[in-house]
């Protein structure tokens, strides 16, 4: 039963991303064309409220549901991996129109050809694992 809450959050996530149309290839295209505020509004308002909630969690020292301390792991500093990795990700995002959350959600909506994108994404992650030590980070 401890997994039930994750299933419910996942269901909620899937519904929100479909209803917001953030899973739509067209909305991603429109965003990169700067032709609508829609996606910027979604991400922007999520980040503003997200930053407020992270600040609140740090300030209030609230314990997690399991009674443990909540700690935020800072990302390791670097430039190359984030810029280069991010650019590669962006190329794929704008082509397939789906990032790693929406891929599964779209499969759930019945877009079965998305399974090919997911399989290719797993393969891409596998390739990164193989090449990791040879890449600049």
């Amino acid at each position: 039963m401890k997994y039930l809450k994750f299933l419910l959050v996942g269901i909620f996530f899937g519904i929100v991303l479909v209803k917001s149309e953030a899973v739509s290839w067209y909305r991603i295209y429109e965003m990169f064309k700067f032709q609508s505020f829609h996606m910027y509004g979604i991400i922007g308002s999520a980040v503003v409220l997200g930053a407020l909630s992270v600040w609140f969690l740090k300030k209030s020292k609230i314990k997690s549901i399991e009674g443990k301390e909540i700690h935020f792991t800072p990302k390791n500093m670097g430039i190359v991996r984030y810029l280069l990795g991010g650019t590669i990700f962006g190329l794929g995002w704008a082509l397939a129109g789906a990032c790693p959350g929406p891929m599964y959600i779209l499969l759930g909506t019945g877009a079965l050809s998305m399974a090919i994108v997911i399989a290719a994404a797993v393969l891409g992650t596998f390739a990164y694992g193989l090449l990791k030590d040879k890449l600049p980070h």
Binding site: V16, I43, L84, G86, I88, I105, I116, A121
Partner: protein, 187 residues
């Protein structure tokens, strides 16, 4: 009920995504969907090929459950919470895509020109999905996160690396949208 069936505006959806991140942090976890790709590699025996996949993937099962939920959520949203309205895209977006040969723009979530089986089962169509997916999977792990991990969670925690990653997302996305897509679909 009617407002549930309409598309949800950004000022409803964005805060709800922040709430999802908040809940996952409160549950002692984090909001990051791309980690599941690495978990899938580990389950498939990736540890035999690279140390990167040698980790206790069972500790990541909760995130796979989120994925399962997300798929169910997608199913529920299109089958029970949608009125089939056309996506309210900028008319300029629709005409730009029309010039690239896209028809029925916004009538479904995904363009038939890319995701219908008739497109997928051509060499070009299959290549688009495989290359697109591969770049997402490779890039997200190289960058250490995707839209959820960097753009939402990382920026919310004021992480400079996440801002650099998001700038990268846009460099790649803008180049694909403005330079490569016209080449791919214009010919």
């Amino acid at each position: 009920m009617d407002f549930l069936l309409q598309p949800w505006p950004w000022y409803v959806s964005g805060p709800l995504i922040a709430a999802i991140m908040f809940l996952l942090i409160y549950f002692g976890k984090t909001f990051g969907m791309s980690s599941n790709l690495r978990t899938l590699c580990a389950i498939g025996g990736g540890a035999k090929y690279a140390d990167f996949f040698k980790f206790d993937w069972k500790a990541q099962r909760w995130n796979l459950i989120v994925v399962l939920g997300a798929m169910i959520g997608g199913f529920i949203a299109v089958n029970f919470l949608s009125n089939g309205a056309t996506i309210d895209l900028n008319p300029k977006t629709v005409s730009d895509l029309g010039a690239l040969g896209f028809e029925h723009v916004g009538e479904s979530l995904l363009p038939a020109e890319i995701y219908d089986w008739s497109a997928v089962l051509s060499l070009k169509g299959l290549a688009i999905l495989i290359v697109g997916g591969f770049l997402v999977g490779f890039g997200t792990r190289y960058a250490g996160g995707c839209t959820s991990g960097h753009a939402i969670t990382g920026l919310s925690n004021l992480q400079l690396p996440s801002l650099i990653a998001v700038i990268g997302f846009f460099i790649g996305g803008l180049f694909m949208t403005h330079v490569l897509l016209p080449l791919i679909f214009g010919i």
